[in-house]
Symmetry: C2
Subunit: 249 residues, 2 copies
């Protein structure tokens, strides 16, 4: 058991990507208990959906899919917030298109973080009466480590979105410079050609003032948006470590 | 041992903040082995520094501090990437100002993530010959879970910085509207007062065109910056879960 825990945590902290990590964990769990399938899902409570981020069935990987929470065992694990064992389920898993596999034994453990159910890890075997209470206890134990890793995964995905937004802002904020330079240029041109007594002199001067304000604000946008290259990033131990870990470019 | 592992993972996934989590883990470890102090540090390899994010010494918490990697046991754990046990160290820990405590037994385990040493967890006892190999194995085992939690902590800190940047950008991007409206207003004013044959008509029209381009770009900036309220966030399972977990406001 301790050996298994060691292997699983070393897989979770390894350089493999999410998919490969869980393929390895699947193999590791297979050594301890008989299984034909495993899935890992994020729970979207509001809509009562499970977004499956890892699906392995009879040694075959399936792509991500969102399914409604329908099966009794999943509902029970998610709403009663406890690991569940059922040894005689007669219901096929629709998203796997394996309607011929109607009998199964299943273990399901909720992933709980900060008192919130964030997901579910489930193991299946297409035979009845396969699982023991000790198997459930094992799944329940490792669900803790999996939870920490899934939170990592979620935070990384969220950062990807946010970093993409920042990248897009970098691009757009550079595009701001050109039209502004155009406006400033025209103002200069006009002001040089008119005298101080010209009725438009005041307007043009005011316009130049506004353009100057705009220029300063645009510089501020560009500076904030280049956060990653800034002194803040260099001196911050957290951003520094993310660079060392190559989680940031 | 299994009970201890369960307690530690349940603390790590609990709603407590970082400081309270590790105060509880300290208590939990104290049940298994004798210790007077514990620290958790991030390793800044480039500068050979440890940024200590949790320090407990004789039941007293100390604030975050950055120290040079000087002690032999720390160096060995960090550079040889393996857990180290020393039962007769004669060197006081300067950052604790406890020069009178010169003898100690220490355990140190590196935190390794994706093949990179990201930090160190260390336990101390102010008596010599206290620790056993089994103690070191235990620390080594839990260092895996701690690593996953520390990565979470780092990602969360990095997101805080990035989200602050986005917030600042939200503010500045709104300020862009006012001077732009000013410029557009003056252009309108001038154009209404001059005829198509006026020498400035062309310049003013061009200026208006540039102002329009600027307006569209500014709108793009404002939209990107309001990412969190957007449809993307609503339909993305990861951002959605972060809201459920109240890790995002």
């Amino acid at each position: 058991l301790i050996t298994s825990i060691k292997s699983i945590t070393s897989i979770l902290t390894s350089p493999f990507d999410f998919e490969n990590k869980y393929s390895q964990i699947y193999k590791e769990i297979s050594k301890l208990l008989p299984m034909d399938g495993m899935f890992l899902g994020l729970y979207l409570k509001e809509n009562s959906l499970l977004h499956l981020i890892f699906i392995m069935n009879e040694n075959q990987r399936f792509p991500e899919v969102t399914i409604p929470v329908e099966s009794r065992i999943e509902k029970e694990a998610l709403t009663k917030r406890r690991p569940v064992l059922k040894n005689n389920i007669k219901q096929s898993l629709n998203y796997l298109n394996n309607n011929h596999k109607v009998v199964r034994s299943t273990l399901a453990a909720p992933l709980i973080y900060r008192d919130q159910v964030i997901g579910l890890v489930s193991l299946q075997n297409y035979t009845s009466n396969v699982y023991l209470e000790t198997h459930l206890e094992f799944l329940s134990l490792i669900s803790g480590f999996i939870t920490l890793d899934v939170i990592n995964f979620i935070l990384t995905k969220a950062r990807e979105i946010e970093k993409n937004a920042l990248k897009q802002l970098q691009k757009v904020s550079h595009e701001l410079t050109q039209p502004l330079t155009g406006i400033t240029g025209y103002c200069n041109l006009i002001r040089e050609e008119i005298s101080k007594d010209d009725p438009f002199f005041r307007e043009i001067s005011d316009m130049e003032e506004q353009a100057l304000r705009l220029e300063k604000l645009i510089q501020k946008v560009q500076m904030t948006v280049h956060l990653n290259h800034s002194e803040i990033a260099k001196n911050n131990p957290y951003l520094n470590l993310l660079k060392i870990l190559q989680l940031d470019e």
